[in-house]
Symmetry: C2
Subunit: 333 residues, 2 copies
């Protein structure tokens, strides 16, 4: 593999999270599917905001969280995604660059405002997402810089990119360039309902070899193979994917390859405050580990450590240096 | 005392916090006084933001944090403060109302944008504040509704109100109405440098009986009496104040009255993430306890519990219900 400028480059929806606590009754009253992600329009975004409790605003976006997490471990990292040149867009841009991530996608001058995700956190720490994509809708293949992809050891893509109009083409363009330049392509399935919307296309991507490394949680895996039986789903995954990691909340994760299936325990935490970003940050640790040549089990341990940090506070961006945390735990020198 | 509509009404600068981690070297490079609050203008606010790390935006303001904390304990609470009708102003208004706090101060239609406080959190959890007051500058005596003050068991004022132009007059108007209607007036000294700016006026307020209950931390107390000796300062406080609480970080607090001095221990916490709001939330618990007729020691225990919650995460607004936390700990029924 040629020398790389970036350990990992992520492409995803550029989103600011607007986080609030909510009771289960609120979700029921608002007809939300608990634990899922719903796409909403601008009018619904406004109505929902009025009904929500006090909020915290933090830059988010699934792949963006992952890339910031990888940078926090010490990765050389880049992100591609679309914001508008408005207040929230400036916040997103400031935050990702301040995290040490290269972010050069030009902001939209007009059109929809910067995308945001209203996140309702219920008392059990579970989160229910309502995303107004806004400017993220307008990510276009022209926003993919071939040189940047060729310079990244891993290009990481989020399944959510299948929702905006042109982002899918940007995704495929990037994946092709990555493989032409002997790089790895990683994909997260993002959300079980997203899988439900795009199941066949995701299966094609995995089976065709377009994806070298797949991330999924249990719900997404069950949705992908339309089965409630975990072992059946893992068996199917093993036949389809080169390398996959299935995250299982407090049960940790399993690493699935053609040759073997290995379980790695979760890091126990005293109190779960908000599970937003648990999967994103698991991916951050795993990708960083793989990019730095660690064994997959050791990479997974970095993932579980990062996930444990993120669920102990509100928001999906790490509050402490993950590199320092990994060093304290003896996982990194 | 007549029946009250509010347990506590707070008057303060309406501010959105923009929080970031920083190393001590950053503070030195930016010529900041660690642990203090500096007032900055709009140009400096922009330069500083560009230099800062990733941020989290949360509604803040010292007295506003206290009032939201009191509401989280179950207090009937109100807030008076000035925002502009802009994006951050809408966030502030949404958040404080969503916390169950009555907030009816009309927003400014033009002039400076909504105030914000850039908060640098160093690895020791200490925070250094840079406040751009913005619209909060324009709080005016006309914004004080006499009926609301008369309806509140306690009117709580922040020392920071001495910085904006007309806010001081609003403060004095409110305090006079409170006493005319047999209500209590509480004051926090806010910050040692603020005390340095307004020492004589604060001492006059305390000695003249305008203040029934005073909150200060050690640095503020030392600044008030210009002494490095704690016992000397407490002795002076005892002579001047009807009732005062001095917060002492991990050493808890002492309650000082003419008759006695009582220490109350801090609630131990495993890891301090960000001390922003520790004093504000201590005041929240104490004010709630006093308004509900608890003994001052029991009120202080509610304060230490709320302070312990707030320092374990970023931001100065509680992430969980303080009422539920107090009930879990057997402090409330």
């Amino acid at each position: 593999m040629p020398a790389s400028r970036f350990d990992v480059l992520g492409i995803g929806n550029a989103i600011v999270d607007v986080i609030s606590r909510a009771e289960d009754d609120f979700l029921i009253g608002q007809q939300m599917r608990k634990g899922g992600m719903a796409l909403i329009d601008e009018a619904r975004a406004e109505t929902l905001y009025d009904a929500m409790g006090p909020t915290v605003e933090v830059s988010g976006g699934s792949a963006a969280n992952t890339i910031v997490g990888a940078a926090s471990f010490g990765a050389r990292a880049a992100f591609v995604g679309k914001v508008k040149n408005d207040g929230l867009g400036q916040v997103f841009t400031h935050d990702i660059r301040a995290a040490g991530v290269a972010f050069e996608t030009p902001p939209a001058a007009d059109g929809s405002s910067t995308g945001r995700c209203y996140i309702l956190v219920t008392p059990d720490g579970e989160r229910t997402l309502n995303t107004y994509l806004g400017a993220a809708q307008d990510l276009h293949p022209d926003d993919i810089d071939p040189q940047a992809i060729a310079d990244a050891a891993i290009t990481y893509l989020e399944g959510y990119l299948w929702d905006p109009r042109d982002a899918k083409d940007a995704f495929i363009k990037a994946a092709k360039i990555a493989h032409e330049t002997q790089r790895l392509v990683a994909l997260t399935l993002s959300d079980s309902f997203c899988v439900d919307r795009w199941r066949d296309e995701f299966l094609d991507l995995i089976r065709s070899g377009m994806v070298d490394l797949l991330f999924a949680n249990e719900a997404e895996l069950h949705s992908l193979y339309q089965t409630a039986d975990f072992d059946t789903a893992v068996g199917a995954l093993r036949a389809d994917a080169r390398l996959a990691v299935v995250t299982r909340s407090e049960k940790g994760c399993i690493i699935v390859s053609r040759e073997s299936t290995t379980g790695v325990h979760a890091v126990p935490v005293e109190r779960v405050v908000d599970t937003t970003g648990a999967g994103d940050l698991f991916a951050a640790g795993f990708l960083f580990g793989v990019a730095r040549g660690l064994a997959t089990e050791d990479a997974a341990r970095l993932g579980t450590l990062a996930a444990a940090e993120i669920i102990q506070h509100m928001g999906a961006r790490p509050e402490i240096s993950l590199k320092a945390l990994a060093q304290e735990n003896g996982f990194l020198d």
